[in-house]
């Protein structure tokens, strides 16, 4: 089964991931790709304690995730790979050609970002980075929970590409 979902979510591990996606899709492992978290034992312990015992969590910086992606993909269990930043997912996609789709799960407000959806706020640079992902052949959609509609990137950005 391997990686079921490649998700950008600034909350990283939280209820929507562990329960919202995790339970209906029987997710058995998470890969948290974040350079800071991967280098901090305290951060890793924080997230380890947040996941249920039946769910494995792995931590990787971007270079390690690129190196180990084939292992994640070959895992017979369904998993979710998560980054907190668009730029991190972009770096990962640049190093792993097998990634065909990316889910925008939650990018919240901060200075310089504008609201695109209730749970998606983007700076102009981030918009360009997402468009670059699509130009590289990656399908980008926004969907916070499984029951919601997957919103295509063009619709998220308000771009009419018909």
């Amino acid at each position: 089964m391997g990686i079921f979902l490649y998700r950008i979510d600034d909350r990283l591990i939280h209820g929507q991931v562990v329960v919202g996606w995790g339970q209906p899709h029987d997710i058995r492992f998470l890969v948290l790709v974040d350079d800071l978290v991967a280098s901090s034992d305290w951060e890793k312990d924080l997230y380890r304690m947040a996941v249920p015992p039946e769910m494995e969590i792995r931590f990787a910086d971007v270079q390690t995730a690129i190196r180990d992606h084939a292992t994640y993909a070959a895992d017979p269990r369904p998993g979710i790979l998560i980054t907190g930043e668009i730029s991190v997912m972009h770096r990962l996609v640049s190093g792993v050609k097998a990634i065909g789709s990316v889910n925008l799960g939650g990018i919240h407000h901060r200075a310089g970002r504008k609201e695109k959806l209730r749970y998606i706020f983007l700076t102009p640079d981030e918009e360009r980075e997402l468009l670059a992902l699509e130009s590289a052949g990656v399908e980008v959609t926004a969907q916070d929970v499984p029951g919601a509609r997957a919103v295509p990137l063009a619709e998220v950005l308000g771009v009419d590409n018909r």
Binding site: D10, R11, L12, I13, H14, G15, V17, V18, V19, W42, L46, Y47, M49, A50, V51, P52, H108, H109, R110, R118, Y119
Partner: protein, 132 residues
């Protein structure tokens, strides 16, 4: 929630998804009339750093207890970050109505003791009743 409260009783923050905390507080109010012991917060639409900042801003005036909904939730993770540099802070995740009722009615002299007792009561309140 109102800032008026019983001065000699411990207060606590209740934080979770959606209207979870406000809903629990309304039930506490209906049963005991003591919902003013809680500061109710929602993590809806908030980035992790914002949740943490809001929690810190309410941890004043002797409030040293945080109740959260999901152990894996972003509110719990934010509270654990706060607890890292607030050693007196007590965090209880998986809160339910029985927990909060026990907390407001507790005769314990310290908020931590009240929170520990409330957590036990909340855990014991989960019962599966089946007809055999």
């Amino acid at each position: 929630m109102s800032d008026e409260h019983t001065p000699d009783k411990a207060r606590a923050i209740v934080v979770g998804h959606g209207e979870f905390s406000a809903g629990l507080a309304s039930a506490v109010q209906q049963i005991t009339g003591m919902a003013d012991r809680f500061i109710c917060l929602s993590n809806t639409g908030m980035a992790p750093g914002d949740i943490e900042a809001v929690l810190r801003s309410h941890l004043t005036g002797g409030t040293t207890v945080i109740f959260t909904d999901l152990p894996a939730g972003s509110a719990t993770l934010a509270a654990r970050r706060v607890a890292r540099d607030m050693p007196d802070l007590v965090l209880v995740s998986g809160v339910n109505l029985a927990t909060l009722l026990d907390f407001v009615c507790s005769p314990a002299t310290s908020p931590a003791e009240a929170a520990r007792g409330a957590a036990e009561r909340g855990r014991a309140s989960l019962v599966v009743l089946e007809r055999h």
